[in-house]
Amino acid sequence: MENISGADLVRAAAFIGAGIAMGLGAIGPGVGEGFAGGKACEAIGRNPDEAGLLTRTMLVAQAVAESTGIYSLVVALLLIFVV
């Protein structure tokens, strides 16, 4: 057990940090995108003629909701490959 040096500990902490960042960061976008998708389905059910416009708006809204998840992905990638 004496071979574990400080650099290994830093590596391990970076991996754990990447896992935590990704896991916690995925909660928000999951909830948000599911909400947007569900509401869009309801709206299309009520008004099927506007399906194209609703799908377009939903996609843009989901992409905006996704951005925090993407940030956490970038942070996780940085932690894995750069630190």
Binding site: L59, A63, E66, I70, Y71, L73, V74, L77, F81, V82
Partner: protein, 224 residues
């Protein structure tokens, strides 16, 4: 498994300053540009009332974006900003598609590409905001609810660049890394084509659409 995080670069000195170019990104962007220019030339070579397949493909893409821009802007401004938005979409879209071709990589998996595209949209949006509303009304927009909200509004505007470029970069980069890792795990059997279909075709198309759409939305917000 390819090396992740290793970038091949060209470095050279010019007038005593060190310039570093990302080789892969540069070559891939030129491939995309050549493809788009060739496509445009071939599609517009013999334009007829009854179009050939190439011309109708081009008409479909350009027409869809013309309608989309017309929805959110008045006719005069729409004709002005439609070429920019459509070009950004086509460039990003073909860039994202490039990942499914063997031996080629997406130029959008490099932050430099997406950041510069985001900066183009940002500068165009703010320039047109100043031009359409006048510098006074434009500056007043930052002090909108109360004067001390100015720093928050400023950071909000700057965060748009970060969010739009990191979104595209993170999606494409994350997709290609997931494909690499899963291909390594399953010895490139069965799963990689499915993943290429999802991350290359579906996510690539959606993100290209979202990137161009958000550029348009930023311009519209500044003009109105």
């Amino acid at each position: 498994m390819n090396e992740i995080g290793v970038i091949s670069q060209w470095a050279f000195n010019l007038f005593g300053t060190q310039f570093v170019l990302n080789k892969d990104t540069l070559i891939m962007t030129w491939i995309v540009m050549v493809f788009l220019i060739l496509f445009a030339l071939l599609a517009s070579r013999q334009t007829k009332i009854i179009p050939n397949p190439l011309q109708s493909t081009a008409e479909l893409m350009v027409g869809t974006w013309a309608d989309l821009v017309d929805d959110s802007l008045a006719v005069k401004e729409s004709r002005k900003y439609f070429p920019l938005v459509c070009t950004i979409f086509l460039l990003v879209w073909i860039s994202n598609m490039l990942g499914i071709v063997p031996f080629l990589s997406e130029p959008t998996a490099d932050l430099n590409t997406t950041l510069s595209l985001g900066l183009v949209g940002f500068i165009v949006a703010h320039y047109s905001g100043i031009k359409f509303k006048g510098i006074k009304a434009y500056a007043k927009g930052y002090f909108e609810p109360i004067f001390f909200m100015m720093p928050l509004n400023l950071i909000g505007e700057l965060a748009k660049i970060v969010s739009i470029s990191f979104r595209l970069f993170g999606n494409i980069m994350g997709g290609s890394i997931i494909i690499l890792v899963v291909s390594y795990l399953v010895y490139s059997l069965v799963l990689p084509p499915v993943l290429y279909g999802f991350f290359g075709l579906f996510v690539g198309t959606v993100q290209a659409f979202v990137f161009a759409m958000l550029t348009l939305v930023y311009i519209v917000v500044q003009i109105k």
